[in-house]
Symmetry: C2
Subunit: 368 residues, 2 copies
């Protein structure tokens, strides 16, 4: 992490005509500072304006963090009494001369908590959504970023392989999820996982976003495991679906279809192809097999520092893929209250196509 | 979780003159629904208005979650294209007749993402901060809540006791933190920890909010461990400070002072006492010992579903303690770039005083 990322940002501000941006804790702030801050009841914001020393507002007891920034910042701290917090915001705004200016913010990240201090502290300023410009910064992953994602994929795959022999009929989804988390950490994931693993069996697997429950695995269940690791702020997000003991013919069939859809989606990515092409390639396989109405979500989403980020693999997204963009391919078929299947890989666009960072077997495997 | 919590909320809306509240994913939404939603790029909001069936806006692929609510809700789902999301908001607003109304929101939780859909969807509505009214709902913990917190404390204590024999000179802070997370999960914590453990040694321990680094433990270090577990959405948040091998006389001394300050803070809580009394009791011990300027934060914060919530143990907070309120007592002394000490317990106000849910030895213990 060098100050090059900051320079890229300030250079990009001229296009959307912004005088500054202000960031609160989240992936963009971490990307631009190398430091992780938490969203909490005490606001933390970084003001960035071209040609000026960035201004950081934060609680006194976190002041030391500013020393680890890869560039100089002006620090405005506040104490424990919330009545004094506005003053720190005002000082930072004065230091960067932001009254009446266009100050970009991230609508998906900024809370009314920070926004309220900002509008009170900056007279006649506007706060447009600068997400588009900020998303651009992180859209094309460089080699170090891809290496971190590759490592996050390897950690996740090794962790699940360590758990598979332990899966038994009668084990609960929650127990399996707990063991998987432990193995993710043992294999080197950073402690903050990108998300809690989804472990869903039988009828629960027909809910794409199920939380692990106390349901016990039964013979005949499909078992969906959607999990990931974090390495140096970058994440992986994979899914494999297993058969618990012997499953019926339709389960076998839908798994085969989803696996083919996944392969088609993976093959469709290349520089210059629209994101829609990835979705359409995967969806066509499922539709032709007659299960189109049971594939209820987009084919994938971008990944990097966030489990969901740009670009999105939707049928209506004409955004063109570029070298270094990273995304998931994760088609699924969900038969309500019966069974579900999803197979998910993590892709990076290369000069000639798209590489899957994940290579764990995708065939249906029998467990239990 | 029954619908009683919802009824308490709607009854409370008359005082701040609100026609409705709207909640996005976070502890209040979980408290009122028993369901956990994640903050992501797809907005989820629940509108609650007295005498009306609550309205839930969420992505189609999460629609099944509504069936697990402890009361009936009207569900307004949207598909993958963000251009259609506003329509789901508008339908929910029409269903509850919220145009021109006072709709309370949580400033600390609501993002501009949801806010933007709300102001576009509700004509001439106001969105005041309803945090005060909402905080009231969760302020006094009932028996089931205290039982969950007690369990979260026991899990945390048992996990750290399992790790202590493994602590060795030369181990990194990060390794120790990883092992502690594994033991928290092994001992029954829910996978989403309240926060990543702080493990800070030597000079790093003088930063109250340090992140675990690759620094190796050395003889003579103070070692601060600030950790917690989650059980059924409720959390614990404890700190103990250890001596790595032999530490100097000043380290011994500041540990003893902090331990006395912690005891004084714990003893000061009772129904009718102001929160300030807890802070003052702990702070006096440290000030009298001549280290006042090195105790750089408030004495504690409320805990429950969040690691930081009301009430706050600050010297200027005249809020009166009531039976069932839960909070931390966590005085510290931080000698810049040398060593730090903090000792933290989790308290619940009883009829006659305040009970510490945590009972792990507070004396300085030698490790390594």
């Amino acid at each position: 992490m060098t100050r090059a990322r900051l320079d890229n940002l300030t250079a990009s501000l001229s296009t959307p005509k912004l005088d500054a941006v202000v960031l609160n804790p989240g992936p963009t702030l971490t990307y631009l500072t190398g430091q992780q801050f938490h969203l909490m009841e005490r606001p933390v914001v970084l003001f960035i304006a071209p040609g000026k020393v960035p201004a950081l507002v934060l609680p006194e007891l976190e002041a030391l963090k500013a020393e680890r920034f890869p560039y100089k910042v002006q620090v405005f701290t506040y104490g424990e009494n919330p009545l004094e917090w506005g003053e720190a915001f005002r000082k930072a705004i004065l230091a960067l001369d932001l009254d009446g200016k266009q100050i970009g913010v991230e609508f998906r990240q900024l809370r009314l908590l920070e926004f309220d201090y900002l509008i009170a502290g900056a007279n006649n300023a506007d706060f447009p959504d600068a997400s588009e410009a900020l998303v651009q910064l992180r859209l094309r992953k460089d080699k170090a970023e891809v290496d971190a994602m590759r490592r996050a994929v390897k950690i996740a795959q090794d962790a699940l392989e360590a758990v598979i022999p332990l899966i038994k009929i009668g084990m609960t989804e929650r127990e399996l999820s707990g063991e998987l988390v432990i193995q993710l950490l043992r294999h080197g994931s950073d402690p903050e996982l990108p998300f809690s693993p989804i472990v869903s069996s039988g009828p629960n697997s027909s809910n794409p976003h199920a939380s692990p429950s106390d349901r016990k695995l039964q013979a005949g269940d499909m078992l969906v495991v959607d999990w990931g690791a974090t390495y140096n702020h970058y994440i992986s997000d994979l899914t494999r679906t297993f058969a618990v003991g012997e499953v019926d013919a339709e389960c076998q069939k839908i798994h085969k279809i989803v696996q083919e859809a996944n392969a088609a989606g993976r093959a469709a990515g290349k520089p210059g192809a629209p994101c829609a092409a990835v979705d359409i390639a995967a969806r066509e396989v499922i539709e032709k097999a007659g299960y189109g109405k049971y594939f209820t979500h987009r084919t994938g989403h971008g990944i990097g520092m966030e489990a969901h980020e740009d670009p999105y693999m939707r049928g209506d997204n004409q955004q063109l893929l570029e070298v270094g963009m990273a995304y998931t391919v994760e088609p699924g078929i969900y038969l309500p209250n019966r069974n579900g299947v999803r197979v998910e890989d993590n892709m990076v666009v290369t000069e000639t196509g798209a590489e899957s960072l994940s290579d764990m077997p995708r065939e249906i495997r029998v467990v239990g």
